[in-house]
C-alpha cells in the first residue's frame, strides 16, 4: 500500500467545543473504535494519531481531542501552537454550544500567531426533533468566518468520515499552495514511517490567504522524497 505513497503530509488538528457535544464520539467513530455504552468525558486532552490516504498522498493527522469541561479551559492554549486545523464542534440540540463556538473562534483568533483552517461541525443530527440550531444559521455563520460547515451523527455514523476526509483534503490543498512558494515547514514531534525519507528544508512558516479574508492557514509540508520510486 505504501508503495503508492508519493507524499506525506503531517498536520495537527485540534478539536474544540463544549463538554458533551460529542467530540470524542466523533473521533472514536471515525477511527472505528467500538463505542459501547456512553463515552466518558475527556480528561485533559486525548491524542489520536491517524493516517488518511488520498490518491498518492498520505495525510498523517495528529488529532487532539480536548476536554470541554470548564476546568480544562485554561489548558487549551497549550494546543494552539502549530495547529493546522481546528474542528469546532457544537451540539445541534443545544443552542448555547453553538454560541460557544463563536467564543472559541474569538479565542483562537486572539491566541494564535499562525492562522488555522477552521471547520465547524454540528453534531447529533440523529436528534433532529430536538434541534435548536438551524442549518441556515450555522451555514451563514460559517461562511462569514470562512469556515467549512458539516453536520453529522457519531451515533449513527452519518457523514463522520466525510468530515475527516475533508480535513485531510484541505491539508493537501494547503500544502499544494505551499509548494508554489517553495517553502517547507515541518512541525515538531513528527512521526513519519521509517521507510520514507523526510527532508526538512526550512522551518519557516508560510501564511497564505484562502478564499475568505479570515480563512488563512499556515501549512506543513514534508518533501515528497520517497525511497520506493
Amino acid at each position: 500500500m505504501l508503495t503508492d505513497v508519493k507524499k506525506i503530509i503531517v498536520a495537527k488538528a485540534l478539536i474544540l467545543g463544549d463538554q458533551g457535544v460529542g467530540k470524542t464520539s466523533l473521533v472514536l467513530r471515525y477511527l472505528e473504535h467500538e463505542i459501547n455504552g456512553t463515552v466518558a468525558p475527556t480528561v485533559g486532552a486525548s491524542f489520536f494519531p491517524c493516517s488518511i490516504s488520498i490518491g498518492d498522498t498520505l495525510v498523517k493527522l495528529q488529532i487532539w481531542d480536548t476536554a470541554g469541561q470548564e476546568r480544562f479551559k485554561s489548558m487549551a492554549p497549550l494546543f494552539y501552537r502549530n495547529s493546522n486545523a481546528a474542528l469546532l464542534v457544537f451540539d445541534l440540540t443545544r443552542y448555547e454550544s453553538f454560541l460557544n463556538v463563536k467564543e472559541w473562534i474569538v479565542e483562537l483568533n486572539r491566541n494564535i500567531d499562525e492562522p488555522i483552517v477552521a471547520f465547524i461541525v454540528g453534531s447529533k443530527t440523529d436528534l433532529f426533533k430536538e434541534r435548536q440550531v438551524s442549518k441556515d444559521e450555522a451555514v451563514k455563520y460559517s461562511n462569514h468566518i470562512g469556515a467549512k460547515y458539516y453536520e453529522c451523527s457519531a451515533l449513527y455514523n452519518q457523514r463522520v468520515e466525510e468530515v475527516f476526509h475533508n480535513v485531510a483534503l484541505e491539508m493537501i490543498k494547503l500544502q499544494g499552495d505551499l509548494t508554489l512558494t517553495k517553502t517547507m515547514n515541518v512541525c515538531d514531534g513528527v512521526s513519519v514511517n521509517n521507510s520514507i525519507e523526510v527532508n526538512t528544508i526550512d522551518y519557516g512558516t508560510v501564511i497564505i490567504t484562502g478564499s475568505s479574508k479570515e480563512n488563512i492557514a499556515h501549512g506543513i509540508k514534508v518533501n515528497n522524497a520517497c525511497c520506493f520510486n
Binding site: 472514536l28 475527556t42 485533559g44 470548564e70
Partner: protein
C-alpha cells in the same frame, strides 16, 4: 515477641515514597514546582504536620435523633433508599453553598447544607472547631478546611479519625483538580461562587475515591502495594524509563502501575511523592475509562502534598494493547507532550526487548498461592506494611472472606485504629471472636495484621507470625520495590 529477623522485611534505606503516620492532615509539603522550574534544587524542609486530629475533645456525643423540619426540600428524609446509605459525604463552601453529595442531587436538600454550615461557623465563632457529633450509631464528622466544609454522616464501623482521613482525601481530590491556590482565590474573589461549574465530572472521581478508600487498605495504611516482580525485572523496567527520559528535562515522576498496584516509581533527585498523592493518581487512572480508548492523554494534575499551588502535566497511556499497565510521566512543562510521547515509545520498545511486558502480564495473571498452600494453615489472610518504604503486601483474599471481603476490611480497620488510637495506642493486639482471631503488631519498622482461625492457641499464633515474617523476608525482593531509582 522474639523473631530472628535482623532487618524487617521490605525495609530500605531510601524510599521513593514519603513515609507518614496514618492520621495526619492535609498540609502542603513544599513549593516544589517553582523550585524545579527554576532548576534551583533546594531540598524542601518537611515540617512535621500538625496533627489536629489527635485531639478528640471536640467530639460531641448526642443521645437524640435529628428531627426534621418541614421544608420543601426535605423529601430526602422520606426517601428510604437515601436514608439507608451507610455513609453520606457532603462538601459545601464555607458560605454554605452545596458542592457535592455522594448520593442524591445536592440541590434538593440545600437547607441541610445551611444547617451544616451554621453548625461549623457557630463553633468556629468561639475559635474552636467541631469535629464530630455522635447520635446513636450515626457519626457526623466535620472537616473545615478553608474554603471548604466537608461532612461525613456514617453508620459504618469506621472511627472518627478514619472518616476524617477520608474527608481529607476528598478535599485533596478537589485541590488536585483545581489546585489549592485557585480554590482559595476563587472564594476570595466571590464568596458565593458555585464551585460545581468548575467541578463538572469531578464527582465521578470523588465517588470512586470514596469507594476506593472504604475498601482498599492502602488508604488506611497510607501505603501502596506493589505488583510482585523479580527485582531484576523491576530494575530493568526502571532503567528503561530512566534511559528513555534521560534527555528530557523536568520530568519529575515516572510511574508505572497496573490493577492498583505499583510496578515502579522513578523520581527526580531530591523529590519524593507522598502516598496520598499517589493514591490520587491511582484513583485518576481507575476512574478514567477514557484513558483506555486513546493512544495517550495529556492531563493537568495537581499533587496537593507535592505542591498545592500548581499543576504538573501527566502523559498518561497504557503500555500496549497486549499489556494493560498504565504509564504516567509527570513533568512541570506544559508543552512536553511530544517528547514524552517519543519517550513512551522508547520505553515500550525497551520493555519488549527485555521481555518485561510478558513478566508484567504473567504477574497480573498469576493466581497467588493462599496462606494455606504456602504452609500457614491457620492463617487466613494478612497485611504487612513496611514503614520505611510506605509499601504493603497482602495476599489475594481467600475463603472465608472471598464472599464477604467487607468483613475482612472492617477487621483490619478496627485493628488499625487500635494500634493508632491517639489516646491509647497499642503495640500488640490479639483478639478473638467466634468467627476469627486477629493479631496486630506495630513495631518501629513494620505493621503486621494477621487474621487467624478463631480457635488458634496464642502461642501458635505467635509462632505463625514469626514464621510469616521470615517467609516475607525471603520474598521481599519480589514483593516490594526496594530501590528508589531517580532520573
Amino acid at each position: 515477641m522474639a523473631t530472628n529477623i535482623e532487618i524487617e522485611p521490605g525495609a530500605a534505606l531510601e524510599s521513593a515514597l514519603v513515609t507518614t503516620e496514618s492520621y495526619e492532615n492535609f498540609q502542603e509539603m513544599s513549593s516544589s514546582l517553582e523550585e524545579i522550574k527554576n532548576s534551583n534544587f533546594i531540598p524542601s524542609t518537611t515540617d512535621e504536620y500538625l496533627d489536629n486530629c489527635n485531639n478528640l475533645d471536640n467530639d460531641i456525643h448526642l443521645n437524640c435523633s435529628i428531627t426534621s423540619t418541614n421544608s420543601k426540600d426535605e423529601e430526602y428524609l422520606q426517601d428510604e433508599e437515601w436514608l439507608s446509605k451507610s455513609k453520606h459525604v457532603f462538601v459545601l463552601s464555607s458560605a454554605g453553598k452545596p458542592i457535592y453529595s455522594r448520593y442524591g442531587n445536592e440541590d434538593r436538600f440545600a437547607s441541610y447544607f445551611g444547617i451544616m454550615q451554621a453548625l461549623v461557623s457557630f463553633v468556629q465563632a468561639d475559635d474552636d472547631s467541631i469535629r464530630s457529633i455522635h447520635a446513636g450509631d450515626t457519626k457526623f464528622v466535620f472537616l473545615f478546611k478553608e474554603p471548604l466544609i466537608l461532612v461525613a454522616v456514617s453508620k459504618t464501623e469506621e472511627c472518627t479519625l478514619q472518616l476524617t482521613a477520608q474527608l481529607n482525601y476528598v478535599f485533596n481530590q478537589i485541590a488536585s483538580t483545581l489546585t489549592l491556590s485557585r480554590l482559595v482565590k476563587i472564594y476570595e474573589q466571590r464568596r458565593n461562587y458555585d464551585l460545581r461549574r468548575l467541578l463538572t465530572g469531578v464527582d465521578r472521581f470523588i465517588d470512586n475515591l470514596l469507594d476506593f478508600s472504604e475498601n482498599e487498605p492502602a488508604f488506611t495504611l497510607s501505603a501502596v502495594q506493589c505488583l510482585p516482580l523479580t527485582s531484576s525485572i523491576r530494575d530493568a523496567i526502571s532503567a528503561a524509563i530512566i534511559q528513555s527520559c534521560s534527555k528530557i528535562k523536568n520530568v519529575v515522576f515516572g510511574i508505572l502501575l497496573a490493577k492498583n498496584q505499583l510496578i515502579t516509581l522513578v523520581r527526580m533527585k531530591k523529590y519524593y511523592i507522598h502516598p496520598h498523592d499517589l493514591h490520587l493518581i491511582f484513583n485518576l487512572v481507575q476512574a478514567s475509562e477514557s484513558f483506555k480508548t486513546v493512544e495517550s492523554c495529556w492531563a493537568p494534575i495537581c499533587l496537593p502534598r507535592f505542591d498545592s499551588s500548581g499543576f504538573l502535566y501527566g502523559h498518561v497511556s497504557y503500555l500496549a494493547e497486549d499489556c494493560q499497565a498504565c504509564l504516567i510521566l509527570l513533568t512541570v512543562e506544559g508543552d512536553a507532550f511530544s517528547s514524552l510521547s517519543e519517550a513512551k515509545q522508547r520505553i515500550v520498545e525497551r520493555l519488549r526487548r527485555g521481555s518485561c511486558l510478558e513478566a508484567i502480564n504473567e504477574s497480573l495473571a498469576s493466581r497467588e498461592e493462599s496462606c494455606m498452600e504456602v504452609g500457614f494453615p491457620e492463617l487466613r489472610h494478612y497485611i504487612y506494611k513496611s514503614k520505611s518504604t510506605a509499601q504493603f503486601y497482602q495476599p489475594h483474599i481467600s475463603a472465608p472472606y472471598s464472599i464477604n471481603s467487607r468483613r475482612l476490611v472492617n477487621i483490619y480497620k478496627q485493628a488499625h485504629y487500635k494500634l493508632h488510637c491517639p489516646t491509647r495506642p497499642l503495640k500488640l493486639l490479639f483478639e478473638r471472636t467466634p468467627q476469627d482471631a486477629i493479631l496486630a503488631w506495630d513495631t518501629r519498622g513494620f505493621e503486621l495484621y494477621a487474621v487467624l482461625e478463631p480457635l488458634i492457641e496464642t502461642s501458635s499464633a505467635i509462632s505463625t507470625v514469626g514464621r510469616l515474617l521470615n517467609w516475607i523476608k525471603k520474598r521481599e525482593d519480589k514483593l516490594f520495590h526496594l530501590n528508589a531509582p531517580t532520573f
